[in-house]
Amino acid sequence: MSWLQRHIRPEQIRELSLLLLIIVAVLFFGSMIDGYYTSRTFNRIVSSIAIITIVAVGQTLVVLTRNIDLSVGSIVGCTAYAVGTVLGHYPGISPLLAVVMAVALGSLIGVVNGALVAWGRVPSIIVTLGTLAIFRGLLVDLSNAKTVTTDSLPPWLVNLPRLNMFSLFGLDIPALFLMSVIVVLIFHLGASYLSLGRRFYAIGSNPDAAALIGLPIRRLVFLAFVLSGSLAGLAGFVTLARFGNITVESGRGLELQVVAAVVVGGVNIFGGSGTVIGAMLGAIMIGTLEQSLYRLQISEFWRDAILGLLILLAVASDAVILQRLRALWGRADLKYVAPAGKPSLEGAHIP
């Protein structure tokens, strides 16, 4: 036990247990559904979660700083529509430029959110509730209710969702899924090991202390919103590639799924703890559940009820189990420190 306690943090146990839960879910569905273990099932699940995963990464950064970004659904809709329209008019645009356009537009919207939260001192839930409505309204007005259709898009984009990068154990890895995994890895490593990344945790877990040691809180919060916006922009590009037909309603309600993935993934809604990988696991859990319940021929109407229950269980286990684990770890740390000749903390009050 003490070896375990020295090498693994309680938060990592949380992620391992989520991973275990996903495996249990897959085994369960595998025993219920004939022909479940096929590359088709895998493909369905991973292509369904690429969008939510990318947005959830940005949302994680924002939530870490004790804020929330509810406008991501509108950002995804706006960028998907805008890039789709531009590609419809100028089909010669290179793929790279299209991605850059989507990310740039998304981060521009993120700048608005971030400036209002950081320097306007308006609570993020108010700002993003407002911009959720504003950006969606602008999209509907500016578009004249026209839609982007698949046949107006260049062939490389339409074929992108079916493009597989390589095979792993007989499973084809779609390019869009690979992209979301790369995004997750970059941001996970950045948030875990870069000093910039640790600062997001610092201002979320104790804003007063972070201010006292001189962290530029406003700039960091601003940056989190810009990153969230740019990732939502990237997800807008993926949405365009995946669905082809983009209406002004595209991405509506996505913010709830994303917040759900983040919360299931163990990111504390009050900031300061949780990881990007956790958020991805949350998205995978939800995606697996959704696609498998669909395959199980369970009426689609059951999915939401089960999803709601799952979120509640995730949050409850986070609060109750993690608290216990932390207490256990805390005591173990003290026992471990004491014999090494360092100042003993025995007798100190341990809650």
């Binding site: 609570p123 108010i126 911009t131 409505a133 007005d141 709830l256 759900a260 939401d304 009820a305 979120i311």
Partner: protein, 321 residues
């Protein structure tokens, strides 16, 4: 407080905005001041403003209830499902209200007794209760309710007022008394300001929170049933997304999202501003989506402008001393 001080307060600002909006509407449309239009103005958003009243209490208490729109859908679907199975409608209505109570108690249990954040709990509720509603009704539209039920939602009963509008005013009076004239109301503020201090001074924080979430469930269920009566039919996705409008109304009314401050006069004025703004824009042929963006902008500005004024004021003072 002096007259000037009162006008400089949040409510004063809202009142000024309200007067401006009404004046603009009167000038722009000859139909605006008609009794039918005034009644219509309330009627079109009546369910949301009923829920906004109870949401005010929840937010002042330092919590949030994102599940209200799904509870509205749930109660209406419970009612419709039972009605379709042959239950007499009055019984079905009671069952609908009870389903709201159950949903509220469920939220309250996790928030008050387990201590989970209400944002996460009611987000789960938002998805889960909607799921239950859709299990019951699937993708059907259930209608064919008795005439009296539809009449209740659609026809004026008290002068130009429909039953829903009358219920709104009664509820408004009740909640004003509870929040501003009762011991419970003081507790709501005290807990919102500092729940821990309240607990140490012997306030039964858990019980108050539980009661508020239960009340939120019942009121949302009532609003859902009134919505069903107004539309004359029930679908699984009815009232989807209403929670955002409801929260906007409350926050625009000057209630702090962090709890502990705000009052019903402000929320009442903010409801009037939003209703008149929407109505005026509707009369001027501005689409629903633009209306929503304008209200979204108003929500942000309502917090941004006072903040900026404060920043400017303090930097001005800093220069003088």
């Amino acid at each position: 407080m002096t007259v000037l001080g009162r006008l400089k307060s949040w409510e004063g600002l809202l009142l000024a905005v309200l007067v401006a909006v009404v004046a603009m509407n009167v000038v722009r449309s000859p139909y605006y001041l008609g009794v039918t239009n005034i009644a219509n103005l309330f009627q079109l958003e009546i369910e949301k403003i009923i829920v906004a009243l109870i949401m005010t209490l929840i937010i002042i208490n330092g919590e949030i209830d994102l599940s209200v729109a799904s509870v509205m859908g749930l109660s209406a679907c419970v009612l419709a499902w039972l009605f379709q199975m042959g239950t007499p409608l009055p019984l079905a209505i009671i069952a609908g209200l009870l389903s709201g109570l159950a949903a509220g108690l469920f939220n309250g249990f996790w928030v008050a007794y387990v201590g989970l954040p209400s944002l996460a709990v009611t987000l789960a509720g938002l998805i889960g209760f909607r799921g239950i509603a859709r299990i019951l009704v699937e993708d059907r539209a259930i209608g064919g309710f008795p005439l009296w039920f539809n009449t209740m939602g659609q026809q004026p009963v008290l002068g130009p007022m429909t039953a829903s509008i009358a219920i709104f005013f009664v509820l408004f009076a009740i909640i004003v008394v509870v929040l501003h004239r009762s011991a419970l109301g003081r507790l709501v503020y005290v807990i919102g300001n500092n729940a821990q201090a309240a607990r140490y001074s012997g306030v039964r924080v858990k019980r108050v929170k539980m009661a508020l979430f239960a009340a939120s469930g019942v009121v949302a269920a009532l609003a859902g049933i009134l919505y069903a009566a107004r539309l004359g039919s029930v679908r699984g996705d009815m009232a989807t997304g209403f929670e955002l409008d409801v929260i906007t109304m409350v926050l625009l009314g000057g209630v702090s999202i962090f709890g502990g401050s705000g009052n019903l006069v402000g929320v009442g004025l903010s409801i009037l501003v939003i209703l008149n703004l929407r109505n005026g824009m509707g009369l001027a042929n501005i689409t629903g989506n633009t209306q929503t963006s304008v209200i979204g902008a108003l929500l942000i500005l309502s917090v941004l402008v006072p903040n900026m004024a404060q920043v400017l004021q303090s930097s001005w003072k800093g220069r003088n001393t």
